[in-house]
Amino acid sequence: MSEKFSEEAYRERVKQNYDFYQWAGHTTEGDRNVKISGFFLPSTATAFQVVEKEELTPSSRQNRVTRYVCVSPTGDNRRIITTVFECGSVDEAHETLIDVVMTYMAPKLPKCETKNLTVGDVCFGSHGTLNLSVIFARFNILSEIKSATPGPTSVDEIARVVDSLILNQYRTIQPG
C-alpha cells in the first residue's frame, strides 16, 4: 500500500481542495515581489501578551519561523499559539500555507471571508461558528494562529492585529 501513495499527488489534491491556483501569487496590496523581513510580534499588544517566543527550524521555503505562546491580556488563562513564517517570497508563503494545512486532519477549511474576517492576501479560518484557528498569508509572511485552550473564543482579533502589524511594516518601508 505504501508504495502507491505519492506525497506529491497528495499535495496536489490539497491544493485543489483549497483552490490554490485561484489565489497563489496574488496580493491585495503591493505585488508578489513585496518581501518583509525582520517581522516580529511585540511582547504586548491590545489582543495578546507574549509569554514565550521560540525560533523553530525553517524549511527551505522560509528564512525564519518564530512561534509565540500568547495569553489574553484579560488574564483568563487562554493560550494562543501564533507561528510566524517569514518566507523567501510571496509564492513561497503560499506554498508554505499548503505545507501547513497538509498537516491538518480537516480536508478543507473555510475561507475567512465567509466568516466575516478579512485579513491577509489569503486566509482560512476554522470550522464552527467561531474561528478557533486562522491561517493567513500577507505578502511573504504566513501566520498561523491557534487557540490552545478549549472555549468559545475566536482568534479573529489577534489575526487582525497581526495583519495590521505586517501591513504597517510594509507601509513604513514604502517610498513616499
Binding site: 501513495f5 506525497e7 499559539i81 491538518y104 486532519m105 480536508p107 484557528s133 485552550t149
Partner: protein, 431 residues
C-alpha cells in the same frame, strides 16, 4: 578518633567486643567506643551508571530533560532527595546478569586500611550484603568499590518507579558493632528493555537519552506492566482518557510537532502541560496523540512508530479524545489523513494503538447504538481488499473497518501510507 591508630588483631577484637558490651550497658560513651574500636568512615559518592557503554550490569544512560543532565556518580554526600539521585534499569538486559553499584569512601586517618560496609533497605535494589573494603591514604581502593545487588527485585513488578532508601552501616578497627554510616535516597526506574528510538543510549550528554522527567510519567502510566503490548495499552488509555487532552475539532491541527516540518516532538512543552497545564495547551490532533503514545511507550521499552493512513476517507462516528459522545469531528465526517502509533511495518496485519479516538466495537460499527472500545493492539485491517460493503453482523477486531464508513469512500479509501517523510521514521526526536 580520627587521629587514633587503627589497631587490628584477635586481642584487639576481643577488647572491642568487651567495649561493645559496655557500650550497650551504657557504661561507656559512644565516643569512647569509637576512639578505640571505630574509624571516621564517610560515604562520599554512589554510582549506578558506572559503565556508560552497557546497561546489562548497571543502570542505563539517562538525563533529566532536554537541558539538564544526570551527573555520575548520581549520589554525592549532601543529596537528600530521591529525585536528585536517579537511576534506571532495563529488565530484559539485566535479567540473569550480575548488577552492581559502585561507592566511594573516605576516612580521615591514613592508618585505617580496612572497613566493613553494608546497607539495609534498598527497595527494588535490595539490601547490600556486608563487604570488606580496602582503604589507602584515606580513600577506598579502588576508588569506587563494587557492590553486587544480590537481592534486587528488578523485573519482579514489571515497569516501575520507586523511591528507595539505603541505611548504610560500617564497622572497622576491630569494632564488632555496626554503626550508622549514611542514609541515601534514590529514585529507581524500571523499564522493560532498552528504550527504543527516538530514545538512545549515547554517552551521557546526548539529548535523546531517556529523560527522567518523562520516565516520571511513563513508569506511572505503565506501572506493573510486564510486556510491550500491555505497556503500550496502558499508556494509550492514559493518554486518551486521563490527561485532559481534547481533539482539535476546528481544523485537526497538530500542536506539539513544530511547523512546518513536524519533525520533532515538543516534549519539554508537553511535560509543562502535564505539570501545570501550560506548554502548548491541551488541544491535540492525531499526530500529537500518535507521537505522545510512541514516545512514552518506547521510553519503557516498546517499539512503536507514528505512521499515517489515508488519504482522504469518510468516517463513521467515533468518540474523539476529550469528547463525551460518538460523533464526527467539528470539521465534518472525513479525515484528510490519520496518524496512529503503529507496530511492525505499519501494514494491514500490524496492530496499532490510537489514543486519539475510541471506535464502535459492536457488531454494527456503522450505526448506533455505539459500544466504545479503546484502540489498543488492534490490527489495521483483517479484511484488506474485501468487497464492500461488509455484511452485518461484523465481528472482526479490525481498526479501519470500525473507523470508516462501510463503502468505497470510507474503508475503501483508507490504506496504510507510512510515517511522515520528516518524522525520522515516525520516531520524532524530542526537544
Amino acid at each position: 578518633m580520627s587521629t587514633q591508630k587503627c589497631r587490628q588483631g584477635c586481642l584487639h577484637t576481643l577488647f572491642c567486643l568487651l567495649l561493645g558490651v559496655l557500650r550497650r550497658l551504657h557504661v561507656i560513651s559512644r565516643n569512647f567506643y569509637r576512639r578505640y574500636c571505630s574509624c571516621g568512615l564517610r560515604l562520599v559518592a554512589i554510582s549506578f551508571n558506572h559503565d556508560s557503554a552497557s546497561l546489562s550490569g548497571d543502570a542505563m544512560n539517562i538525563r533529566k530533560n532536554f537541558t539538564q543532565t544526570v551527573a555520575v556518580p548520581e549520589w554525592t554526600a549532601g543529596e537528600t532527595l530521591p529525585a536528585d539521585s536517579p537511576a534506571a534499569y532495563a529488565i530484559r538486559e539485566t535479567q540473569g546478569r550480575t548488577i552492581t553499584i559502585k561507592a566511594k569512601f573516605m576516612v580521615s586517618s591514613n592508618s585505617v586500611t580496612k572497613a566493613q560496609v553494608r546497607a539495609c533497605g534498598g527497595g527494588v535494589l535490595g539490601q547490600l550484603d556486608p563487604q570488606t573494603i580496602t582503604l589507602a591514604n584515606g580513600v577506598s581502593v579502588p576508588e569506587f568499590v563494587s557492590f553486587e545487588l544480590r537481592d534486587h527485585l528488578i523485573g519482579a513488578d514489571g515497569i516501575n518507579v520507586e523511591d528507595v532508601t539505603w541505611e548504610w552501616e560500617f564497622r572497622c578497627c576491630g569494632g564488632c558493632k555496626w554503626e550508622p554510616l549514611a542514609t541515601t535516597r534514590h529514585r529507581i526506574y524500571t523499564v522493560l528493555e532498552e528504550p527504543n528510538l527516538p530514545w538512545t543510549q549515547q554517552p551521557a550528554s546526548d539529548t535523546q537519552n531517556p529523560w527522567t522527567d518523562a520516565l516520571d510519567y511513563a513508569c506511572v502510566w505503565a506501572a506493573g506492566q510486564q510486556n510491550e503490548i500491555d505497556a503500550a495499552t496502558a499508556i494509550t488509555k492514559q493518554v486518551n482518557a486521563n490527561l485532559g487532552l481534547v481533539y482539535d475539532n476546528a481544523s485537526g491541527a497538530p500542536f506539539y510537532e513544530p511547523q512546518p516540518l513536524c519533525d520533532k516532538f515538543e516534549l519539554t512543552q508537553f511535560l509543562a502541560y502535564l505539570r501545570n497545564g501550560t506548554g502548548l495547551g491541551n488541544i491535540v490532533n492525531c499526530m500529537d496523540c500518535a507521537t505522545i503514545t510512541t514516545t512514552f511507550s518506547n521510553l519503557v521499552g516498546c517499539d512503536l512508530h507514528a505512521s499515517k493512513m489515508g488519504s482522504g476517507f469518510a468516517l463513521t462516528p467515533f468518540r474523539g479524545i476529550g469528547s463525551a459522545i460518538f460523533a464526527c469531528p467539528g470539521f465534518g465526517c472525513s479525515f484528510s489523513y490519520h496518524e496512529v502509533a503503529w507496530t511492525g511495518s505499519h501494514g494491514n496485519a500490524d496492530p496499532l494503538f490510537d489514543a486519539c479516538l475510541r471506535v464502535d466495537n459492536d457488531t454494527n460499527p456503522w450505526a448506533p447504538p455505539h459500544s466504545e472500545s479503546f484502540c489498543v493492539n488492534i490490527v489495521f485491517s483483517t479484511n484488506p481488499g474485501a468487497p464492500l460493503p461488509f455484511a452485518v453482523p461484523f465481528n472482526a477486531q479490525s481498526y479501519k473497518e470500525r473507523l470508516c464508513t462501510n463503502d468505497a469512500a470510507g474503508i475503501g479509501s483508507c490504506n496504510p501510507i507510512g510515517p511522515w517523510p520528516t518524522s525520522s521514521n515516525g520516531r520524532r526526536p524530542v526537544k
